[in-house]
Amino acid sequence: MSMDFRLFQWLIPAIAILFLVNQLLRYRRGRINLGEALFVSGLWMVVSLLAIFPDLISGYIAQLLGIKSNANAVLFIGTGCLFYFQYRLYRIQVQQRRIITMLTRKIALDGYEEEQDV
């Protein structure tokens, strides 16, 4: 099997290595936990593998999902990933809204207590 490397096949893994090193450093500094470090590192590794072996992996995914076209398989997986990330963003938004509401409530009730004391 001849490997005729195109630009993206070495550029994307190179960027991924930078991000991987960054993740490891962030983990060592205690800025992220092990789970987060492993998740993001895994993600970049998958992206790198997809860039290095695009036809092989997309062909395998297409075969696995029973989809004839490699491009459709990649689109299908891409859409799935987008939904997942959308869900994660939604969860973060819900948590932050809850925190803002709790803070707002605390400020309001503290203000009431102060007014009663005066």
Binding site: Y87, Y90, R91, V94, R97, R98, I100, T101, T104, R105, I107, A108, L109, G111, Y112
Partner: protein, 228 residues
């Protein structure tokens, strides 16, 4: 002479300056009890006018929604050890005379939560679209309850001590109405309904939930139940 009742009336208000003074004056003329306005970050004169009308005002620094304001009222009642609170809408659609009726139902049934129902017995002129929306919301809410309630979206409610202690709303928007009933049902609190009257004005129709907000609320409510 206003009738003395051992309750606290709580009104969640957001930008209700055109009507808040009148609503409070009508309540004060009907019942003799403390009235608390939870000002949900209004950008108009709501808080100022409510204070001037003799209400105690608890102010959210920013707008968080009807559910968040209601939960602030419940938290306040818990902190102050109040035994019975009545929630009313600030737009003037609820009639203060029904405070007596809802309190009477509370006394007679020993319920922990009394819901003021616009669709039970009383004949109210409710816009067609709002009626449809309420039917949809009732069906959706009753799906998650053991009981069946005729007006799950009513903002006119009485909470007794057990409800004050156990209800913990997380929904900031209008879906708190359903959430409160579902929680009360799960906590095995006693829920009763009391027929109430409503007067829809152009102003009150412009406030609150319309069909579009209702659909969004229903979608968010289902989403939150599925992915909590």
């Amino acid at each position: 002479m206003p009738e003395q009742l051992p309750i606290h009336v709580i009104i969640a208000a957001y930008n209700e300056a055109p009507v808040i003074a009148q609503v409070l004056a009508e309540i004060k003329a009907t019942v003799d009890c403390p009235v608390i306005v939870i000002d949900d970050g209004s950008t108009d004169q709501t808080a100022h006018l409510a204070k001037r009308a003799g209400a105690v005002v608890v102010q959210h620094p920013v707008n968080r929604g009807a559910g968040a304001a209601c939960m602030t009222g419940i938290t306040l009642a818990r902190q102050q050890n109040w035994s019975c609170v009545v929630f009313m809408d600030a737009d003037g659609q609820h009639l203060p005379k029904d405070i007596m009726a809802i309190y009477q139902t509370y006394r007679e049934t020993s319920a922990d939560l009394v819901i003021g129902s616009r669709f039970s017995k009383t004949k109210n002129e409710i816009p067609w679209l709002r009626r449809r929306f309420n039917g949809l919301a009732n069906g959706l809410t009753n799906l998650f309850c053991r009981g069946s309630y005729s007006d799950t979206q009513s903002g006119f409610r009485l909470l007794g001590k057990r409800a004050i202690e156990s209800i913990d709303l997380v929904q900031d928007d209008f879906s708190y109405c359903s959430e409160m009933i579902i929680q009360a049902d799960r906590e095995q609190l006693k829920i009763a309904e009391c027929p109430i009257h409503v007067q829809y004005t152009e102003y009150s129709i412009s406030k609150g939930q319309d069909f579009q907000v209702g659909l969004t609320t229903a979608f968010q409510f289902l989403w939150k139940i599925m992915f909590r």
